[in-house]
């Protein structure tokens, strides 16, 4: 149909994933970290959809799968933000470096 090849999607997903990973591992603001994690999840979704359309055996399964992933990502984001809210209320900070109480 169109001339966009599979590799272009995969490269896009790779770039997105790396940006997300970088953000998740280096940013100090917990909100940015959560956003970065969403980014990584969406990179995976792009892969799923791309393979579902252009893979060796195209089928609808990949798209269904990505729907599930989106749902779970939404739930995870909700929980993550809720934890973040209560942490902020208790500690007055969203700095990831300072959140090391689980060490003990």
């Amino acid at each position: 149909m169109t001339g966009v090849p599979l590799s272009a999607y995969l490269v896009l997903a790779l770039v997105l994933f790396c940006i997300g990973l970088y953000g998740a591992l280096t940013k100090r603001n917990a909100v940015i970290v959560l956003i970065s994690i969403e980014l990584m999840l969406n990179a995976a979704n792009i892969n799923l959809v791309a393979f579902s359309k252009l893979g060796v055996t195209p089928s609808i399964t990949g798209q269904v799968f990505s729907l599930f992933t989106i749902t779970i990502a939404a739930a995870e984001a909700a929980v993550g933000l809720a934890i973040l809210m209560s942490l902020y209320r208790n500690r007055k900070t969203v700095n990831v470096d300072e959140m090391d109480i689980m060490k003990h």
């Binding site: 990973l21 998740a24 591992l25 280096t26 970290v33 990831v96 470096d97 959140m99 090391d100 109480i101 689980m102 060490k103 003990h104």
Partner: protein, 624 residues
């Protein structure tokens, strides 16, 4: 009845368990439980013995373990010797428990005492019923534990504690010999069962040297338990235990276990003349050796202890000269009269609170029952005509004569002279002459203590008549029945008549000499030997055996232990602490890694994944 014989040791075990669990509440009533249970055991044993007269040997075993192709069995066996031993053990135990009810009155750990007595009786009955060597060994050790507990009953006394340890360790030395012997026997014949072992021995599976070695090793076990030279020195020290215990364990039952062992394994010993020689010589030497020590001891219980050692030597001498019947016969009569003597001595001690015969004297008129009872026992052990000891000692002398071992025969004759002498020395010192006691009011013991002594005195008088030259050799024939080939087939030892006459004369001479010195005082006490004489001092110090052990074995073991403790401390300890320190360091490094920084964790996980991917890419997914 015989199929229910397994109940016999169970009753005392019940006593032990009940008193252990609820002894604190029962206190002195615990004695009734002990007495009733032991009475049940005794009645059962008696019924079993009665039935054994008519019926053949009963044996039942079940498979207990199977290792490879070998079946280890457990069960019980009632043959002549077992049935006889069951009655002796349960009877003496019953009488001792009756006696203890009076003797131990007011003792704080009264019920514990009865619990221990029950435990010991259980072990001893189990020992004599065992159908194979393995089971015998288990109960052999349990008997040792029972003895340990009872000797150390007054554990707050340092001497009692030491004596208990000494008894346990010295008998243990013998037990090692027994264990090695059993293992070698199993190795050679592939069985623990008596019957199979004897068959294998007779068919010549084991070489002659091997048989001698095994028999001697098993005899070492008997040496330890029966207080034979050179492992005898624990037995006199064991007198630190309560006197009823001495009567039960160190006169009638446990020390007889060694003799029982040799008697049980008799076909094995018969197969090796060298082993028989060892048994006979050890027995003969121990008999005269211990008798000579008994001549000068001043503690009434110690004299009796050395007398026990000496009499056990007699039994070994009898067994070693192929006098199976004589040995077992003397074992039986000795159990009765020696238990009687110990109980009577306990009654004396109970009355005047000392064991030193120098502080006794003149008690004949004051202890109207104990005196004659003690005299009965003394006459019986001295071999006074027509009492039980006379017949059994005669049988032993005959056996030694018949065997042609005249040196041992002479030793036995001298020993019986010494026996008569020291026993009557003891008797006259306690019961005649001036009172040298601090206690003015001497009270006779209560009837609960006198009753058992009366029973024993009765048996000490009549038990000899089961095997006499005149009224038939009932015991011998019964013991031999069906075992003629195994036991040498000698139901009675024949010898010239002058032996019996001489035995009587010798014991009368001993009695007379003691009478002249200690009762009539016609001869001064220094007539035989001066108190400060070298020879006297050697005897008084028991030939310095304990000192010799202390300076040789004791120091050798101490040196070795010191050496080993340094190895332990520096070499083993060094290795151990190196390991612990390195593990600890590793743990510290690991704990530093846990910072709580979730991003660092993520980084590490990512790097790990990256490394894995690189490896995957390089090797193509296969680690070679």
């Amino acid at each position: 009845m015989m199929e229910n014989a397994w109940l016999i040791p169970i009753f005392p075990l019940v006593t032990f368990l009940v008193l252990l669990l609820s002894g604190g509440r029962l206190r002195e009533r615990g004695a009734y439980i002990g007495i009733i249970c032991t009475l049940a055991s005794f009645i059962l044993s008696l019924l079993v013995l009665m039935e054994r007269f008519k019926e053949p040997t009963y044996k039942i075993t079940i498979d207990w373990l199977s290792i490879g192709g070998t079946q280890l069995k457990a069960g019980f066996e009632i043959n002549q010797l077992n049935a006889l031993m069951l009655v002796i053990v349960s009877l003496v135990s019953l009488l001792v428990q009756l006696y203890s009810k009076g003797y131990m009155k007011g003792e704080e750990r009264f019920s514990t005492f009865y619990a221990y007595l029950g435990f010991f009786t259980f072990a001893m009955l189990g020992l004599v019923m065992a159908p194979n060597l393995l089971q015998l060994y288990f109960f052999w050790e349990l008997v040792g534990v029972g003895s340990f507990l009872l000797i150390g009953f007054y554990y707050y006394k340092q001497e009692a504690k030491n004596a208990a340890k000494k008894a346990f360790i010295m008998t243990r030395i013998g037990d090692v010999g027994l264990l090695v012997g059993i293992i070698l026997l199993f190795w050679g014949t592939g069985s623990f069962e008596y019957g199979e072992i004897f068959q294998a021995v007779q068919s010549g599976v084991i070489s002659n040297e091997g048989l001698t070695l095994i028999a001697i090793l098993i005899f070492i076990g008997a040496v330890g338990k029966s207080g034979q030279f050179p492992l005898h020195s624990w037995l006199p020290d064991a007198m630190e235990g309560p006197t009823p215990v001495s009567a039960l364990i160190h006169a009638a039952t446990m020390v007889a276990a060694g003799v029982y062992l040799v008697a049980t394994m008799f076909p094995l010993f018969l197969a090796s003349s060298a082993a028989m020689q060892v048994v006979a010589i050890t027995g003969g030497f121990t008999a005269i050796f211990a008798a000579s020590i008994a001549l000068v001891q001043k503690d009434v219980k110690r004299v009796l202890a050395y007398s026990t050692v000496s009499q056990l030597g007699f039994m070994m001498l009898a067994l070693g000269t192929a006098g199976y019947v004589a040995g077992v016969f003397h074992l039986m009569t000795h159990a009765f009269f020696k238990a009687l003597l110990f109980l009577a001595a306990g009654s004396v001690i109970h009355a005047i609170h000392t064991q030193d015969i120098e502080k006794m004297g003149g008690l004949w008129g004051k202890l109207n029952w104990t005196g004659p009872l003690f005299l009965t026992g003394t006459l019986a052990i001295s071999g006074f005509p027509l009492l039980s000891g006379f017949f059994s000692k005669d049988e032993i002398l005959m056996a030694a004569w018949e065997n042609g071992n005249y040196l041992l025969f002479a030793l036995a004759v001298i020993t019986s002279f010494l026996t008569a002498f020291y026993m009557f020395r003891l008797f006259f010192m306690i019961f005649t002459g001036e009172s040298r006691s601090q206690v003015k009011q001497v009270k006779e013991s209560p009837s609960i203590m006198l009753l058992p002594m009366l029973v024993l005195a009765f048996l000490a008088v009549i038990s000899g008549y089961v095997q006499t030259p005149w009224f038939g050799t009932f015991l011998g024939e019964w013991l031999m029945e069906g075992n003629e080939t195994l036991l040498g087939g000698n139901s009675h030892s024949e010898g010239p008549v002058w032996i019996m006459v001489m035995a009587v004369l010798v014991s009368l001479a001993g009695i007379f000499l003691a009478y002249m010195i200690y009762a009539k005082k016609k001869l001064p006490r220094s007539w035989l030997v001066q108190e400060n004489n070298e020879f006297y001092r050697v005897l008084d110090n028991k030939y310095y055996i304990d000192e010799i052990y202390h300076f040789t074995v004791g120091y050798a073991i101490k040196g070795l232990s010191l050496f080993l403790s340094y190895i332990e401390r520096f070499i083993v300890g060094g290795v151990v602490s190196t390991v612990t320190i390195s593990i600890e360091g590793l743990g510290k490094i690991g704990s530093k890694l846990q910072t709580g920084q979730v991003q660092r964790y993520g980084m590490i996980a990512f790097l790990g994944l990256a490394v894995l991917l690189v490896i995957f890419a390089v090797t193509g997914g296969y680690l070679r």
